[in-house]
Symmetry: C2
Subunit: 149 residues, 2 copies
């Protein structure tokens, strides 16, 4: 399981997704939680509608020609189905490691097995700081981390 808003889909997201597919393996399945418009309305900057973000995400996933199965699920809160579902691993970025640790605590409290947690390092922009949607929105960098004039 992996989740995000993916707006715009930048090189950090692509690394997170690519590693998720590697970890799932060709026999596995990747469940991608995509934040709903209601959930992301808390963000500090405007976000594209769910349908547009889903289309971008699907276009990227299809282009990668993964042999692993995948499915996109709407994410209405930080956890989605991660507390109750039967799955093996959760993939997070550096920012969201605490959410994964919390998910395992809640799973344990609910009598479910803990899942492996994979924290994928963020991709750095040219200036040595993280690529992030907020920085792209502000016009500091592009989706590949190039610094904009």
């Amino acid at each position: 399981m992996v989740g995000g808003t993916f707006d715009p889909l930048h090189d950090g997201h692509k690394r997170l997704l690519d590693r998720s597919f590697e970890i799932a393996g060709s026999d596995g399945q990747v469940i991608i939680g995509l934040t709903t418009d209601a959930f992301v309305s808390r963000k500090t900057h405007p976000v594209c509608p769910f349908s547009a973000r889903q289309a971008d995400l699907e276009r990227y996933l299809v282009s990668r020609q993964y042999s692993t199965r995948w499915v996109i699920e709407p994410l209405n809160d930080r956890f989605g189905s991660a507390i109750d579902a039967d799955f093996d691993a959760i993939i997070v970025s550096e920012e969201t490691l605490p959410v994964a640790v919390e998910i395992n605590k809640l799973r344990r409290n609910a009598g479910r097995k803990k899942v492996d947690i994979h924290q994928i390092s963020c991709v750095l922009a040219e200036d040595g700081r993280w690529i992030s949607s907020t920085r792209i929105y502000r016009g500091e960098i592009d989706i590949h981390g190039h610094v904009l004039p």
Copy 2:
């Protein structure tokens, strides 16, 4: 990179090692840090000598017939070569996640790239608690997590 005392080598260790090899992939390399006798002298129970633990570990790794290369390095402290070496990912158990987070902070301070962190869930014994060397030493469970009379 993965590390431990591996004494005795139990099913939790085996899961940690197996997942490390899966994550490294057949083109990769797994560096296994094995705690030195001086370092483990801080443990609350006696530990087999380094040479015996190394021999057990090597026997297990050879039996698995991994195609991935591997090397055992002595671990004199919690970090070993993890601060300075050029590598991609660190594999930890639930107990040692904070060490991995600290390693990334120290790497960042030293101007090195952060590494991915993979936290592999502990294997549960029959009684639903973790398999651990301490519990095996106490005679509560065997290396496969069976509860002993």
